[in-house]
Symmetry: C2
């Protein structure tokens, strides 16, 4: 890919011990979340596991929502890296249609996996346009590579919209679809948009 | 339309004076919102305008979010009625493609108009599947009328997803699109899905 995509804003430089604290807290939170329900993970438990005071957690992340948003930023950065430079078909090297399908599947699985975390982060995370901006630009790039004409930015947002957590929850919950059916539906949507 | 669509759940029967109170409060809230910023409309102001005590507002709606959600339910019911039995092209009588385009435009304008109210209602409203369910079934009906084959429920959710408030806010704000461009993009999406 020749054009740089907007990555998540790099955090402001921090003192080395502060950065170490931050890493330790994020790691502690991630480990706690793996073991139990996100809703049961308290700031106290995260502080205790990281070996710091509770005040430190609040100073670093502002609130429980802020901590959850920081965790999501962390895994989003890793996901963006795998899109930009990871192995194909999600990363470069595969034909654009294969990359597009891999993108949809990976986005759906990531959102479903992180569902409870996304809800715990609330608006702090939902308004994060750096995340949507990256995905939109990547989809626009793939649509252009596929020779699609039209308003590629709009089409990219339209392909991204049904992969958002609230829509996935509606499809899997309210509409009773399986994950396979949702994926097949998204691929059919891609075919109709690309015109293949 | 031959098949009944799921309308918003009718409220449990209430005593006549309670119903009168409820109507008065909703009317008072709607009038206050028309005059100023939704965020500035307090429960006290709504109670004062309706001539009841503040406790009554909380008893009826539980919270400020609950009141806002009730207001949205109220206008959603009116909107559903205009889709089901209002004048064409949104209502019955126009060809299905014209109804589909009118649906998209009406949904977009309604969501943008109610933006602040939808945000004030928060999750109370966001999880209201009766609203999404109605719109999904109506879109599925129109796609079937247009002779589209495939997973019509999935395609209906995919057509609906980019008309949600968060996606509209991203398109108009972050991506800097005009309302006309968003509408043209949605119509192009419809054409690609219908295959015309």
């Amino acid at each position: 890919m020749s054009k740089p995509l907007p990555l998540l804003t790099a955090p402001a430089p921090e003192r080395r011990d502060a950065a170490r604290n931050r890493e330790a807290l994020l790691r502690a939170a991630a480990e706690l979340i793996e073991g139990c329900d996100v809703r049961a993970v308290t700031m106290e438990a995260v502080a205790a596991k990281a070996g710091v005071g509770k005040g430190t957690v609040f100073r670093r992340f502002g609130s429980r929502e802020g901590l959850m948003a920081a965790l999501l930023n962390h895994s989003e950065t890793a996901w963006q890296a795998s899109v930009l430079s990871g192995p194909p078909p999600l990363g470069p090297g595969a034909p654009p249609m294969e990359r597009l399908i891999a993108f949809g599947e990976s986005r759906m699985r990531t959102h479903l996996q992180q569902g409870a975390l996304i809800e715990a982060a609330g608006r702090t995370w939902g308004d994060n346009y750096a995340v949507i901006g990256f995905a939109t630009m990547h989809l626009r790039y793939l649509l252009r590579e596929l020779g699609v004409s039209g308003d590629l930015t709009y089409l990219a947002t339209a392909l991204l919209a049904p992969l958002s957590l609230p829509v996935l929850q509606q499809q899997l919950g309210f509409d009773g679809m399986s994950e396979e059916r949702v994926l097949a539906g998204w691929q059919d949507l891609v075919d109709r948009i690309v015109g293949s």
